[in-house]
Symmetry: C2
DNA sequence: GTCTATAGTCCGATAGAC
DNA sequence: GTCTATCGGACTATAGAC
């Protein structure tokens, strides 16, 4: 990788990702063509598809968060309840976060495009699926695993949105805070069954 | 339907929706073209796009559930907490459900296609957005509204998955049951903050 | 209803690294 | 020679513009 002058500019994938993010910021996702991204990165349209199966994926490469969370759940003390294991794992998610500034740019671009918002949601669903399988390996019944994960994701979204806005709080504190908030909210009596 | 020969077969949109569902079941979403759906429904490709902005939308027409839930939240007793209002509204969701058999066919087709799964998720997110605005009108702070809704959606998914499998239980009972399950799950001590 | 840009696939060609 | 990264052309279907 480092020996000698490479025939091609290195890190083609990274160049495509950076070009795409900037073009999407400037012009929006819909009005940016794959050919333009590739050209900006010094490649052809066809080469783009060697790295990404479709145009949206250029913003979603890498499984770092999913791999991290699954590993954390698998490493969790077997004595923990499912929700404890998940929340403890989630509390360490910031270990694989990028800079706040980068995440904010990315969030903004995604929010501006329905097509990207869709892809973002299914990526989250993929993480949920992976976590469900991890919980099932701990002996949790599948339907219940999925439910607990949906709740944990709700907590994590609450924590993440605060983390992006508040430079001081630590992520795991915010997770604990959201969990406390949830406990208060559901402590009230159940709705009446008619 | 009986009075005179109509210029067009009536219910073009319904015919497109039924044709699409059957073709997707038979061949899969990706291997069914818009032209084929239109032809099967006795229309041209161009006419398809008069009814649906894109190919996926043919399975997602109608806002019945969203409209119903928002109306229920708006009609809820102002004295209820946000989560009580939401869960009471959710408990009546089965009023706008189609038959189990139809829902199961639809769920199967959606699950078989990543493109449709994406669209399904963003439709759910749209409902969440509408409910967030409804809660904000009740005076709930936006970030908290979103959090409570994510939790309510988790409860609703748990209830829906059981409802699809169990012909006897009523939906509102299943919502109450899932809520109780959540209370038990989060009653445990918080994860340690490291 | 017609025309067109673009997304995305499939075939292969080329050229350097090893 | 093999392997890998790039490029080129032809093609279909989606979706939007006119």
């Amino acid at each position: 990788m480092l020996a000698g002058m490479p025939r091609w500019e290195s890190d083609a994938q990274g160049r495509l990702e950076r070009a795409a993010l900037e073009l999407f910021e400037k012009q929006g996702f819909e009005r940016t063509s794959v050919a333009q991204i590739a050209r900006t990165a010094g490649l052809t349209e066809r080469s783009f598809y060697r790295y990404f199966p479709d145009k949206r994926e250029v913003l979603f490469a890498g499984n770092d968060l999913e791999a991290h969370l699954v590993a954390q759940v698998e490493a969790a003390d077997p004595g923990l309840t499912p929700i404890e294991a998940l929340l403890t794992a989630l509390g360490t998610a910031d270990e694989v976060f990028h800079s706040r500034e980068f995440l904010l740019r990315r969030v903004k671009v995604i929010a501006a495009s329905p097509a990207l918002a869709e892809r973002d949601l299914i990526k989250l669903a993929d993480i949920a699926d992976a976590l469900a399988r991890a919980l099932e390996r701990r002996g949790v019944e599948p339907g219940k695993a999925r439910f607990i994960i949906d709740v944990a994701i709700a907590i994590s979204r609450r924590a993440t949105s605060r983390w992006l806005a508040d430079p001081d709080a630590t992520f795991s504190e915010l997770v604990a805070q959201a969990t406390a908030e949830l406990r208060v909210a559901v402590a009230s009596p159940a709705p009446t069954v008619r």
